[in-house]
Symmetry: C2
Subunit: 275 residues, 2 copies
Amino acid sequence: MKKLKRSARLVELTQFLLARPHTLIPLTTFAERYGAAKSSISEDLAIIKEVFEEEGMGELQTLAGAAGGVKYIPRVSEERALDIIHKVCGKLEEPGRILPGGYLYMSDLLGQPHLVNEIGDIFATIFGGKNIDVVMTVETKGIPIAYATGAKLNLPVVLVRRDHQVTEGSAVSINYVSGSHKSIHTMTLSRRAMKEKSRVLIVDDFMKAGGTVRGMIDLLAEFNAEVAGVGVLLDSGSVDSEERLFEDYVSLVTLETVDAKNRTVGVKPGNYFEK
Amino acid sequence: MKKLKRSARLVELTQFLLARPHTLIPLTTFAERYGAAKSSISEDLAIIKEVFEEEGMGELQTLAGAAGGVKYIPRVSEERALDIIHKVCGKLEEPGRILPGGYLYMSDLLGQPHLVNEIGDIFATIFGGKNIDVVMTVETKGIPIAYATGAKLNLPVVLVRRDHQVTEGSAVSINYVSGSHKSIHTMTLSRRAMKEKSRVLIVDDFMKAGGTVRGMIDLLAEFNAEVAGVGVLLDSGSVDSEERLFEDYVSLVTLETVDAKNRTVGVKPGNYFEK
């Protein structure tokens, strides 16, 4: 136990809460940790709560009673989310991103941990109230987004592999049709990676017709698990609705046009921002 | 501009600094942001600095002068690092992790974002002073560790792929011999992923003889880039030094024995903790 002044306690409490999102912390933990009365801790938390709310950083939920405590729920205001996404859109529209075949280079953006964490903050805001057990993605480019989301939701991440790896133990494999090429691929998930009946948030970097997401949903059925939500950073607006293999998802950015000849890209904020 | 009381300013400043590690922030930024005198901000920062140091969370560097400001350098004390690693060792020694072929299942541990972030904190502590431009890893399991490290060092992450992907543009491929199987594999890195002469921190989840790391170093040579450090979560202690393809690396955990018959695993803290 250490005695701290209010000013030091505020710094300590702030970092403690930020490091433990979606975790219920009993007030006695703090009272013992700082050698302070619970009433003082409550006053500290009221100050932090006000700043977090004012800054649009999220909510500090206080639960009364014996099983009570405080829980930090990170949230990004829609205004800040839109700022982040406008920044991403601006980057995506930079010339020189179009690759042969009309593909879009975005590994530089996905290689910025700070930006990826901001994207995770937005997904955590969108899916924070959905009673989720685990975040799932398929290798490779969705992985950092899934971890950023999982970190903010205090949830584990499960990784679907393309091949069955010796380091994963017994696994379930399924075939799926990837909408972009109409070709058949395999994805596998380790038997021990997921409990039966888990509620799963699927996250990925890009979705066109939705074949990969559809594959992950089929895989979930093998585990008697269910989809609690689907979030993709970028979706393609050029897909006909009858071509779409999956409808109920949230996108943060929509790719409207790729003009390979003039090397221009048109993007707009995704369906999350549609009213 | 908003006027804040000291107590609210401390909360705000703490979260602002924690969200921007290894970033120089001029005092005028805060003075303007909070409508406070620079002298008040300096007093606030002194309080935060003391708490951060007391908690073993890192350092608040103050740089005087016109180009001056404050920079938060996250650091984990060796004591806390060892606590984290003992926790990891305990988990790795749990029965039931040994897979056919003597492989160790650790995807459940690597699937915990909170733990992965703690591992990133340790790598950021080890390599924080090394003048690094970029963190590099090869898919798949090292990716979350690389991002956790990059986030804390405020550095981009570059991802080496096993295959050449259409979404990466022109790429450089090399062949390498994986020490575990003595078999030949390919790894590729997008031409535009890395600037010439970058100083690179290589991070991975596991290293046996070091073939994969050796491959990444060979790949760096193609970009006229150089290795600034190599960090792996787990290395294998059962490799002869003449078999080892690479010596100068830091490990956090060392796998000493895998007894596939009795299904037991022996691990100890890695070479970072050796005096």
